[in-house]
Structure formats: C-alpha cells, structure tokens
Amino acid sequence: MNAQPLQTGQQATSAQPPSPSPSPSPLTVEAVAAGIRRRVLEHTLRNNGGYLSQACSSAEILATLYLRVMRLGPSIAPLIPRAFAGVPSRDNPNAFTGAGYNGPRASELDRFIFSPVHYALVLYALLIELGRLGPDALEAFNTDGSTVELIGAEHSPGHELTAGSLGQALSQAGGIALARRLRGETGRVWVFMSDGEFQEGQTWEAFAALAHHRIGNLGVYIDANAQQCDGPMTDVMTIEPLADRLRAFGAEVHEVDGHDSEALAAPALARLSGSGAGTGATPRAVTATAPTPQHQAEPAPTDRPLVVIARTDPCRGIELLRERAPKLHYLRFKTPAEQDAYEDLLEHWQDSSSQ
C-alpha cells in the first residue's frame, strides 16, 4: 500500500481549505430531474415495466449531488458503455468498473457510491442528462451482454460497487473513506442509499463504525420515499424515527424536502465551506458534568458522518403513478389501457413536466 505515513488523530477532512463549489453548470437541477423522469418513463415503457417510482422520488437528490454537491472530474469512460467483459478474476484483465463515469480518482476529488442499484436506470438517465453518457447509451439497457443492467453492478455506468444485495455498500464506502483519510486525501465519499436499506442490520453496524472511527469525510443521502417492494414501509417494517435513530448513532443528520435542491445541497455545502455542523446539526446530548476520563472526547462536528434524509414523493412528476398506490416499487402494467396511459404521458411529456 502506498499510503502516506499516518499521524495519529489526523483530521484530513477538517484541515482542508474551503473549496469552490463544482464548476458552474448551465444545467439546472430542475431540468435535469425532469429529463431523468422522462427517460426513465421511456425506458420503463420500452422494457415493459420497471422501477419508475424511484426516478420520481430520487431525481432531484441525484441531480443535486452531481450538480451541486460532489466535486467530480469529467467522465473518463466511453459515451457508449462497453459490453460486459467478464467477472473480475485473476484471469480476467479486462474486467472494469463503471466508476470512470464519475471522473478520475484524485486526492481532492470526491467519490460517489451508489447503493440501491435497482435505481440503476435513474443513474444512467442522469449520466445522459449530464453528458457523461451518450444519448444512445440506453439502447443497451437490460439487453443480453450489456453492462447497462436493470439492476446495476460494479461494471455498470456510474457504479463502483456491486451493491445489489442491499445494505452492503455503506460499510464498503466507510472503508474507502477510512483509506482516503489514512492517505491524507481531501476528497469526500458520498453514498446514495434507499430507506429500505435501513432495515438491514448491517447499515446500523456501519453507522456505529463510522461514528466510532470518526469518519467525517463521508456523507449519505437517503431517498426516504417510504416505499418498498411490499408497499408502504410503515406496514412492512418501520424505520422511524429515522433522524433520531441516526443521531443516536452519532451522525450529523438533516431532514429536508427531497425535491428542493437548495435544501438538499445546503448541509453538504455547509460542510464544504468548513462551517462545520452548519444549520440543523444536532450535537449529541452533553450532560452538565464533564465527560468521565475513560470516555473519549466528543468528536468534532466534522468528524461525524453527514446524513441528509431526503423526504420524497414516489409519484413526483408522474401523477399517473398515484393510481397504483400503495404499491409503487415496480411498475408492471396490469392492462393494455394502463400501458397506453403511460405511453400517452410520454408522448405529451412537455406538458406533464411543466406541471
């Protein structure tokens, strides 16, 4: 390993200078989010079904991450995704990951870890909207031998980990963030998660470890759409009160309207500008008495993982979907008439996106 020598208690993350926001872009979160919804609708129709509500709930979160939060270099991967080149192994020098779509690796650049990979189509659509993938990249979506898979894996565009067994990516992102801190890198690790992943015990083990190891160079955006395969999460297995639970685990938690890009970006920008916990930060309860000597001092606000709980609407921008509530996880057309209604929506997209 070529890590730099370690300093105990090194705080690479808090030591970084205030950095500029990502280069100004003519693209707005709103326009990109509308484009995501339209593309995902189009390919859900072409594919005869799919994960459409995920586009509705997460479009602004992902667009905000790429446009306003993460510091990523330009894509270094081909506009038309490469075909599947075999699984990683000693004997396969051709295996690759889709991380190149998020730019090169560099000390000062951020990394993006995409955890709920059944949202893959949303990410592909976003990459197209941003010009990181070509407009025709989705021709290969869910076709045999393609990396543009229905459920993404590490070879899929924009993906870095094989995360489809949900609730496993955060721990790996924690390892990556720890490694970056050990190497003295200033870039951060951003993880996008679904709320269903907060049912897996591993997610909580990860938060315990993030807090314990004071991993502050990692931020998590959660699409809290309150939906999962079996229906509303409150019926299946509630995770609430999520913010309180996460705070109890030592994270800096913000709860925001997940369709409001200002609100989504604010907590991350506050961290980036070095203003620490920023608004909405909730320090752990500190008792009046001094901490007992055997306990470590409270971590600095910037040594805690940052969590943004984005409260979202799984039908946002596609009102037609509400007819399917409360089961929204996977759209499978029940009747030709229903499919026609969605076709119609796509044809007249201009109107619907401007509602």
């Binding site: 594919n47 005869n48 079904g49 599947f84 699984v87 192994s89 990979v117 059944h118 869910n142 045999d144 031998g145 393609s146 898979e149 229905l150 459920i151 993404g152 894996a153 070879h155 094989t162 995360a163 489809g164 067994s165 949900l166 609730g167 269903g196 992943e197 049912q199 897996e200 015990g201 999962q228 395969c229 079996d230 999460m233 019926d235 299946v236 297995m237 996880h329 996977y330 499978r332 057309f333």
Partner: protein, 376 residues
C-alpha cells in the same frame, strides 16, 4: 460408431444419422406437449396452508415476488413481515420453530443462503429446527445479476449438518415439494420456481423424498439433471436418441440426503460415462455429490459436470445465461460427444426445433414477456 450400444428402435440402423424429422419423431414418442402452469406455488401454498394450521409464512419484503401474497391475503394472522432484514427473520423463525410452529420463510435464495448464513447454521440448523426455507430465483433464473443469482446455495447448505435440500424441476414438483418438506424433522431448504412453470411430470406423480425420476433408459450415457436443467436435458436426450445414442436420464429433486441407489446403478451401466447438469456451480452441487458417491463406491466412470465453472455470472436473460455458461441442451450434446468421442452432427437448429415442440412459440413469447416484467 463401434463404441456405441446396439441400435435402439429410435436409431437409424444404416447410417446412424437421423434426419431432423426423425429427431422430432423420437421426441414425440416420449413426450406430450408441455403445459405451462401460472404461479403454481402461489395457489398451492394457500391450499397447503389450509391443511396445516400451525404453518406460518415469514417474508422479507419480497412477498409477491415469492408468490406468498395470496397466503398473506388469505391468512393475514399467519403472515409476518420482517422487512429487508433476513438475518433477523431467520432468528425469529428459529424461535417460532422452537415453540412448535412451522415457519415457511419466503425470499430469494441468495437472501436465505448468503446473507444470513451464520444465523441459518447456528440458530436453525444446529438445533435441527423444522424451519422451511423456500428460496426463489435459484441459480441464474433472474436477470437481477450476480447479487440475485444463487449459484452456491446448494454447496453452502450441503455442508450444513441436519439440512435437507430439495429442488423443484417443474410445476408438479413446485406443487408437491411443500408436502415433502413438511414430513421432515429438521430444517429444509427448497429451491423453488415461480411464475410460468412448465409441467414436465404428471400431476399425479409428486416429488418423492430421496427418489430420482427415471425419465429414460439407456446404456451408452447417463444424464443426471436437476431443476430447470431437466427441460434442457429432455431436449438433449431426444436429440441424442435420434442419433442412436442410448441414454439413461434421471431427474434429481433431493440434493441432500443424496443416497438414491438408482443414480449409481444407472451410471455404472453407462458405457461411456455420465453427465450431470445443474443450475449452480459445478463445485459442491449435484455434480459434486455424484462424484463423491462414484468415488466412494469405486465406480470407475467418467463424469462431466455441467454448471457454472467456478465463476460468478452477470445480469441477462435466462436463455442467454444458460447458453453462455453451458447449462443448456447444446452443452449437453457437446459433453455427450466428448464422452462418446465423436461428433453427433446435432446443430442448434435441430435442438431449437425440439425445444419448440416442448413449448409452442406462443408459450415462448409469454415467457419472454413474463421474464422481463417480473418483479425482482
């Protein structure tokens, strides 16, 4: 040709090479058109539960995807949702089983055998509790990619003491496997099929514990298949017979315990050896189980194991993956040629014709559509 058996009635004695037409004839002699059954597990579970009031169903947010939604709606007081938290669900199942209930866990095979493996081993298997783990999307029967493909479940669970492993190969077995599981005093793992499932075996011939189905007699080769590979093997056997190869074909649905004497008897009689084919890694599954028995009994026959060759797979359609990883009829023909030591001149077109005779074109389309639209 000298290496072959005496001609059978299917064989074209003079040339040893049958035109395609007679390949189909040979096939038709043995098989009727195969019926497709829609979601046999869904209806069977409801039926079965009516007779077993202490049966509970536990789900981990894949209830409809595992065809347990009908049960849930019919018996809401016997259905328990655990969310996406499989390790915990297996623990709850263990507790319920210790108290005399029969928990039927429903989720995808990978989320029973990989994620909560230690809970499965220590909470359920060690105390020999009667938890029934109904695993869906075994092997590569999912376009969900590597994270959804249980290619090592049999290997993992064969190594678990007290475990019984069953695998459904058609609608009849899907409908009868629960009754078999319920007779077992201990944990049972079922590789179950969902969606449109072909009926290969008569509805009145249920799955029997520890008994392979002997689908055809022969003395040149023995083919042992399980799960979805059996339909492929049926196609391949028809093609091989039309070329005068005498094939014994066995379908296995009990993978542990693995002690049906028929298997070794048939392999011992097969002059050129045996081929196993399974929707799983060749390490630790059906082929390995056969190899262990052959070695222990000192039966000196060659065995070609077809299955995933120590590799992970990726997301694609089932037919594509079956071809890519050699789990199809064509792979069986190649293996047969290797054992026999000569080319049989059976091309893809001929095989496709046979397959099309099992399933009409219309069925093929329905399936393709269903494959694409099924929940993951």
């Amino acid at each position: 040709m000298k290496a072959r058996s005496q001609p059978t009635e299917e064989r074209q004695v003079e040339s040893g090479r049958a035109p395609r037409q007679s390949m189909l004839q040979a096939f038709r002699q043995d098989h009727h058109m195969i019926e497709l059954v829609t979601r046999p597990h869904r209806s069977n579970l409801i039926r079965f539960a009516a007779e077993h009031p202490d049966l509970l169903v536990l789900g981990a947010d894949l209830t409809a995807s595992c065809e347990a939604d009908g049960f849930r709606d019919q018996y809401p007081e016997r259905f328990f949702s655990f969310g996406m938290a499989e390790q915990n669900m297996l623990g709850f199942a263990a507790g319920l089983a210790r108290e005399g209930f029969f928990p039927y866990i429903h989720t995808f095979s990978v989320f029973i055998t990989r994620r909560p493996f230690d809970q499965l081993a220590m909470s359920i298997a060690y105390p020999n509790l009667p938890v029934r783990m109904i695993g869906f999307l075994p092997g590569i029967t999912t376009p969900g990619g590597v994270t959804h493909q249980a290619i090592d479940d049999i290997a993992l669970l064969r190594a678990v003491p007290n475990m019984t492993i069953l695998e459904a190969g058609d609608a009849t077995e899907v409908e009868s496997v629960l009754a078999v599981a319920q007779t077992i005093d201990g944990p049972v793992y079922v590789r179950q099929l969902r969606g449109e499932v072909p009926r290969l075996f008569p509805a009145d011939q249920p799955l029997r514990l520890g008994q392979a189905r002997h689908l055809g007699q022969g003395t040149d080769l023995a083919i042992i298949s399980a799960g979805i590979c059996t339909e492929e093997a049926i196609n391949a056997v028809a093609a091989l017979r039309s070329r005068g190869v005498s094939v014994s074909h066995l379908h296995v649905s009990t993978l542990k315990p693995f002690d049906d004497p028929q298997l070794l008897e048939q392999i011992a009689k097969a002059r050129h050896g045996a081929i196993s084919i399974e929707n799983h890694s060749i390490i630790g599954g059906l082929g390995s189980a056969i190899a262990e028995q052959l070695a222990e009994q000192g039966i000196g026959k060659r065995l070609i194991r077809l299955g995933l060759r120590d590799t992970y797979a990726h997301g694609a359609s089932k037919p594509y993956l079956m071809r890519e990883y050699g789990l199809d009829a064509a792979a069986l023909i190649r293996a047969a040629e290797t054992l026999i030591g000569e080319s049989l001149q059976i091309d893809d077109i001929a095989l496709a014709k046979i397959a099309a005779n099992i399933r009409t074109e219309a069925q093929g389309e329905t399936l393709a559509k269903a494959d694409k639209t099924e929940d993951l």
